[in-house]
């Protein structure tokens, strides 16, 4: 079953009729090649990334979730470049869940160091953390890490496959491998003799690959570094059934869930009889899980399941957190203000001393707050599962298939190797699909479905009210300003631990401890030099489930840091870009970004009345990003006219996709800054749907101008980096336009937007 269905989710065109994978890293194989389990009789495989069909057709495995960020195109391009075949000549698949597709880059920067730290301790931590991803076999799409992780290993996979194919063809054609070329599905010798790749692939597969192989010099690249046509667009403009919600299987039944809206609480009493009696309803199942308690409905169609779920009468238990937003925020306000100890990932100079003798008129203080946020992916949470004969198969739009495999095996009481996870396209991810709840519920319903596959789709309301939210946070900041610069900056940031919240949902038996980078990333790790500079994260217990939301801690810490820096600039009588340039002087990559940004945004030119600009900078995911937002006062409110972005990412492997991602990240950030907030009342999330949790619409969307810099020796991430600076840049523009310093998001609580 796995084979055929895995290949239902092809990214390119055409099906592979059987195949053979070609050698990759034979010298070092920490994980077995998962394709070995998935070949028909007579086929063989050595390589997790390249399959050659009997007809010579080449399939490339791009083992990261395609959620819009273009990863299938760029990962395939890494292999195709070295293999020496055009991107439009190959088929691209996500492939199976396997530890072989581990991501080491996602954990590399998980330690208490900024990305520019080059100390022994910083490098050692990166190395050990990166190794962890390999040992654990973490196949994760997240942390803007896919290309950084795949850059070397997928180019090697392509080069090794080419080496083996040419070696095998050379025996057949009687010419040395170096003289052979790949043309279409053939390998061709200088004298014009040719052999089908399919014909020699089995011979190639049994050759011993060399221990080392040279990669192309980037100046010889034909595909990388140039904008490619995305490989997934034909499917996406024709409505092809590629998403999790589109899964269709023989005998399939349909389901939904209705979980306790008081998140993490149980059930006091319930009556499911009315729901069970409704037409089309097959079964109502109680769900008691590590991610929530409630009910699942199995029905003959989705609409019947939705109606029945609504008809369940249930009295929920009380929430394990304060019942309303104000009471929740008060907890953070208390820990931010009080003498609670936190972890200071940055503590330069002597901050206490610097404030002890500061003249009162040199000190500014400010309190900042951000709300919880929902991911609100366009495709609501869903998963399809089938259970029978001790085997579980899952089809789900997800960001971490190997973890789904482990967790759902535990739920079903079977071993992981009896679980197959098929990753479909994702109708948006933004971190929400790096969770397990949707797959756990589908697994439990499948176990009650007499062996039939069950597609479990959440309503938008269920999705909105049962998210793993971007955490709320409260900041208490002070600065001592003299001689046009901050002499001291002290930031205290109170927010819950995302890692511990995720840990409780994913591996509840494994307690997680220690301080956490996510609390203050985007604030402690910025390329500024200030004599006395301390950033303290105060991990504050709160049972509201929180998770990764595009750019994670950076999404609020950038707002805190960059808006307060704007306040410091005002106090110092400095232009915001001039002050940043002064503080960044030790970091040439950052300086280049800000100088370029000042240039393209015409920062120094005066604007007419009723228009203003704001600026912000954030180093996140290894990329250095500055943004300027220009706004205008219109009769119907503030209009965002244009955003300029400059991003230093090391190397743009596909400039078109990089630009699209930066724009996308900005729209995502601006949407939240303008008007998004998740609030609580009676222990439940108040927002239900897009009518009360909206995002930017086409009429609100600004023009963009994006410049990409490639000065850094290190590759930076791309998918999340547009988001962090967009939020403070807009808030700073609002201040410049209106004089209002808004320290609590969203901004539309204070000003109107068109």
């Amino acid at each position: 079953m796995g084979k055929i269905l895995r290949r239902t989710f092809l990214i390119g065109t055409g099906l592979v009729a059987g195949g053979l994978a070609v050698g990759y890293y034979a010298a070092s194989r920490p994980w077995p090649n998962p394709l070995e389990d998935d070949l028909a009789e007579g086929e063989a495989t050595l390589n997790p990334y390249v399959i050659v069909g009997a007809d010579g057709a080449i399939t490339i495995i791009a083992p990261r979730a395609e959620m819009g960020q273009g990863v299938a195109t760029t990962l395939a391009a890494l292999v195709a470049e070295e293999l020496g075949v055009p991107l439009d000549a190959v088929t691209i698949e996500h492939g199976p869940a396997s530890g072989a597709y581990y991501n080491s880059a996602v954990l590399e920067e998980s330690g208490p160091f900024p990305v520019f730290a080059e100390s022994f301790a910083a490098e050692a931590t990166r190395s050990v953390s990166g190794k962890l991803g390999e040992v654990l076999g973490l196949q994760i799409t997240g942390g803007s890490s896919s290309v950084r992780d795949g850059f070397d290993k997928m180019r090697h996979a392509g080069a090794m496959a080419r080496h083996l194919l040419l070696a095998a063809a050379s025996e057949h054609l009687g010419a040395t491998p170096a003289k052979l070329t790949i043309e279409g599905r053939d390998i061709v010798s200088p004298d014009g003799a040719r052999v089908s790749i399919g014909k020699i692939a089995s011979a190639a597969a049994v050759l011993t690959p060399p221990a080392e192989i040279a990669l192309k010099d980037p100046k010889d690249w034909m595909i990388l570094g140039r904008s490619q046509k995305r490989v997934d667009l034909h499917a996406k403009v024709t409505g092809a059934p590629i998403f999790g919600i589109d899964v269709d299987l023989p005998g399939m039944v349909y389901g939904t869930v209705r979980m306790n809206p008081r998140l993490g609480a149980g059930i006091r009493s319930a009556d499911t009889s009315a729901a069970e009696a409704m037409p089309g309803v097959i079964k109502v199942v109680r769900l008691d899980t590590q991610t929530g308690t409630g009910f699942g409905v199995i029905a003959k169609n989705t609409w019947a399941a939705f109606k029945a779920a609504e008809a369940i009468e249930v009295v929920w238990e009380e929430a394990p957190y304060p019942a309303d937003t104000e009471s929740i925020m008060n907890v953070f306000r208390e820990t931010a203000a009080g003498s609670w100890n936190g972890s200071s990932y940055r503590d330069d100079g002597d901050v206490e001393l610097a404030f002890a003798d500061a003249p009162a008129d040199s000190v500014i203080t400010a309190d900042y707050e951000v709300p919880y946020l929902a991911h609100a992916t366009m495709e609501p949470m869903n998963a399809t599962a089938q259970f029978g004969n001790g085997e579980l198969t899952i089809w789900a739009p997800n960001q971490m298939p190997t973890i789904l495999q482990t967790v759902c095996a535990g739920i079903a009481g079977i071993k992981s190797d009896r679980v197959t996870v098929n990753t479909t396209y994702l109708g948006g991810g933004f971190g929400r699909r790096g969770e397990v709840d949707f797959a756990i519920y589908a697994t439990l319903l499948a176990m009650q479905a007499d062996g039939k596959p069950v597609k479990v789709t959440w309503t938008r309301e269920e999705d909105m009210t049962h998210d793993t939210y971007r955490p709320a946070a409260v900041g208490r900041f002070r600065a001592r300003v003299a001689d046009g610069v901050p002499q001291a900056l002290d930031m205290r940031i109170a927010t819950p631990s995302i890692m511990k919240s995720m840990g409780r949902r994913i591996f509840p038996s494994m307690p997680m401890g220690g301080p956490e980078r996510l609390l203050t990333e985007g604030a402690f790790d910025q390329p500024y030099t200030i004599a006395n500079y301390r950033v303290t994260g105060i991990e504050t217990a709160m049972a509201v489930p929180v998770g990764s939301w595009r750019s994670v801690g950076n999404s609020f810490n950038a707002f805190f840091h960059e808006c307060f820096l704007d306040e410091i600039a005002a106090k110092a009588g400095q232009d915001p870009i001039a002050l940043r340039l002064k503080l960044m002087a030790n970091y040439p990559l950052a300086v280049a970004v800000m100088e370029k940004l000042a240039g393209i945004s015409h920062w120094d030119e005066a604007l007419p009345d009723g228009k203003a600009k704001g600026v912000a900078f954030t180093l996140s995911f290894g990329s250095w990003v500055g943004e300027v937002v220009q706004i205008a006062q219109a009769p119907d409110g503030i209009r965002i006219e244009k955003v300029w972005a400059v991003a230093e990412i090391g190397r743009a492997l596909d400039p078109g996709i990089v630009t699209a991602q930066i724009e996308s990240g900005i729209v995502f950030g601006l949407s939240s800054a303008i008007g998004q907030a998740i609030t609580f009342s009676d222990g439940m999330v108040s927002q239900e749907n897009f009518y009360d949790y909206d995002a930017m619409r086409i009429s609100q969307c600004p023009q963009f101008e994006v410049a990409i810099l490639e000065n850094s020796q290190k590759l930076g991430g791309v998918g999340e980096i547009g988001t962090p600076p967009s939020i403070p840049a807009l808030a700073n523009a609002v201040h410049a336009l209106t004089g209002q310093r808004i320290r609590s998001l969203p901004l539309n609580r204070e000003v109107n937007f068109a």
Binding site: M67, G68, Q69, G70, K229, R230, D232, L233, H234, A235, K236, V237, T238, G239, P241, I242, F243, I245, D246, D248, Y254, P279, G280, N301, T302, W303, F306, T377, M378, E379, P380, Y425, G427, G428, G429, F430, T457, T459, R460, G656, A660, Q661, E663, S664, G665, I666, V667, F668, S671, N689, F690, Y691, D694, A695, M696, R697, I698, S699, C701, F704
Partner: protein, 157 residues
Amino acid sequence: MQLTINGESRDLDVDPEMPLLWALRDIAGIKGPKYGCGVAACGACTVIIDGIATRSCVTAVGDVTGDVRTIDGLAQGEKLHPVQQAWVEEQVPQCGYCQAGQIMNAVALLEETPNPTDAEIDDAMQGNLCRCGTYPRIRAAIKRAAAQMPAQTASEG
């Protein structure tokens, strides 16, 4: 219940109160229109009925009298509709989930208004949410399609 979907007559055994979206997806097996909100707030489910862009998630299947066009029937075999072609050329989709609705809404717009202004594009496309933020490329693709679509399709709308 008799429905004409993409020019084909279909007999569907459904409760007439079922939203057209679910009748299409779960009963007729037509997966192009997507479920996003269920309350006509996002446009992912957009189909065209008698030339009008319609949110299939809030349209009871029993109330449908006209011919239903979905993204699944937009291309003529291998030949993409000019709006689809423009979407490819401008490299519009990211996650792609909202794009079936965006494209159908744009087709209805261009059939009614062959050369829309920016304000007319905003007005028509305002109900179609995209969380990936592909709006600038959607706008460019609509203009590109407008330049390429034969004028007579407008009068038919």
